[in-house]
Amino acid sequence: MLLRTFLRIFVFVLLVVGIYAYVGQLVPQFEEHPPKKKVITAQTGRKELVAIGQELLRGKGGCLICHKDSETGNTRGPDLRQAAVHAPTRRPGLDGEAYLLESLRDPEAFLVEGYPKMMSSALKPPANLTPAEVKAVVAYLQSLGGVEVSTVVTEDDAAQSQRAAKAVHRGRALMDQHACTGCHKVEGEGGDAAPDLTRVAERHPPAELLRKLNDPAAWTAPGFDAGIMPSFAEIPEGDRQEIVAYLAGLSGIAYSATGAASPWSHEGVRLGMIILIANILMLTALAWARRRERREVT
């Protein structure tokens, strides 16, 4: 009786669900795909380049946090609407395009009067633009200023960009945060007490770097003393991963920061211990209670 009823009802469930699914087939069917990501190549047209540059300015580049490209916006940095117009006169020997490129790649080479030294190279974090993307931004700045868009993406830019696109930028900030750069130099910044890490990933694969962070005694670079570097096993695993990913990226090695990152890594262990102890305590308490109970019965 139970089974028969079950089968009857199961058929009923299938029937009702089937009707709903059928109606679902009757409505118009179409898939919507996300917009295609724009890849800059040497063939990218000028108009498109300008559009991509504009997108970068407000998106990935984060330029508008300080600059403005319209009436409203931030004024921590110079107004970008006039950037291309003033560019040819800024630095003797550099034409407009060259100046704009330089000001993005190496902002400290020339400071516009009245603005402090605060921008980091667009090629580096936090903007972390690729060489081709820098050109796209220049193209946008030129079109914004109303001068002729002269910048051209070369095959070389595009190739470099492909390599650079793999870099991960949060790692750098984390290295500062966890004081790695106190001793190590990376990308030309940091202390000299320990090896320059800019190209370290060329010599050591990510797994080894991770091991070194967890257990500094694992290996030591030749020419340096062992036992100086502290263990970083206590910092979140996700952070270690990010740092390694960043270092790998500097050497053009693809490594995802999220490789083995687990949000459970440390809290998980700690919590597990607490739960384990709680369980054991409870178990003991119960055993004691049962014994008492048995004693009472007898």
Binding site: Q29, F30, E32, V50, S70
Partner: protein, 254 residues
């Protein structure tokens, strides 16, 4: 009464069918008619089922036919007629009419978060009609918008803003009827601005941009002119743009 349940149910069904078929003008499309008749069928059946006496009364005539308690000619008619009816309906449904394939169309397409007009990027979420800020000049602006409308828009959207201009009949979808409560009055001006500025080619795929004859007006009109025209279509059609409470439009911006 219970004795006649079956006949009443059948009669009711036929009556509803005839009514929907004959008295809706212009005729309701088959898709709608199918929805309606399915619902009516279900409703009648459920109603009959919802009372035991009614249900037994309803079942009695078909039971009598199948159990052979009625005269032979009636049995034969029903038993032969039903398959023929099924076959006939199936034939009707299967015969291809070679009507144009239905192309689903999203009526109010999803706007992008930002779009480019005349080389300038515009964030849609924070966009408002700049010309409304000066109420004193509003009438003047509307009058200017009217001129723009009649030099550009009325060929499709019509003198009366009812989507029935001299070119309107050429296009499917028909040009929007601004007097219809389902069009501009339920949209924010920023949405209308996006539609006007980017036209048919600016529509997402679900709204079949290849059909829309709406020109890309930013090619012909300045930004302010578009706003003026928008002022006019609201004023001219007697509608107001949809608005949200103050201060909530930019919640998702930081």
């Amino acid at each position: 009464m219970v004795r006649w349940t079956f006949a009443l149910a059948l009669g009711l069904w036929l009556a509803v069918f005839a009514t929907l078929r004959l008295f809706i003008i212009p005729p309701a499309p088959v898709s709608v008619l199918t929805i309606y008749m399915t619902l009516v069928t279900v409703a009648i059946l459920l109603f009959v089922m919802a009372n035991e006496a009614r249900w037994q009364g309803f079942l009695a005539p078909p039971r009598a036919v199948f159990a052979g308690r009625v005269s032979r000619p009636v049995q034969v008619t029903v038993l032969a007629g039903l398959p023929i009816l099924v076959g006939f309906v199936a034939h009707l449904r299967l015969t291809p009419t070679w009507d144009a394939p239905f192309e689903p169309r999203v009526v109010h397409p999803q706007p992008p978060s930002s779009f480019t007009i005349q080389g300038r990027r515009i964030e849609l979420a924070a966009l408002t009609n700049p010309l409304r800020s000066d109420p004193a000049a509003l009438d003047q602006r509307i009058a200017e918008g009217k001129t723009i409308y009649y030099r550009n828009c009325f060929f499709c959207h019509g003198d009366a803003l009812a989507g029935d201009g001299p070119f309107a009949q050429v296009f499917r979808p028909l040009p929007a009827n601004f007097r219809d409560v389902g069009t501009i009055s339920m949209l924010q001006e920023s949405f209308v601005f996006w539609r006007v500025a980017t036209g048919g080619p600016g529509l997402p795929k679900g709204a079949t941009p290849w059909h829309s004859a709406m020109p890309v007006w930013q090619q012909f009109l300045a930004e302010e002119e578009i706003w003026k025209a928008i002022l006019f279509i609201y004023a001219g059609s007697g509608s107001t743009p949809r608005t949200w409470e103050e201060g909530t439009a930019d919640v998702n911006r930081h």
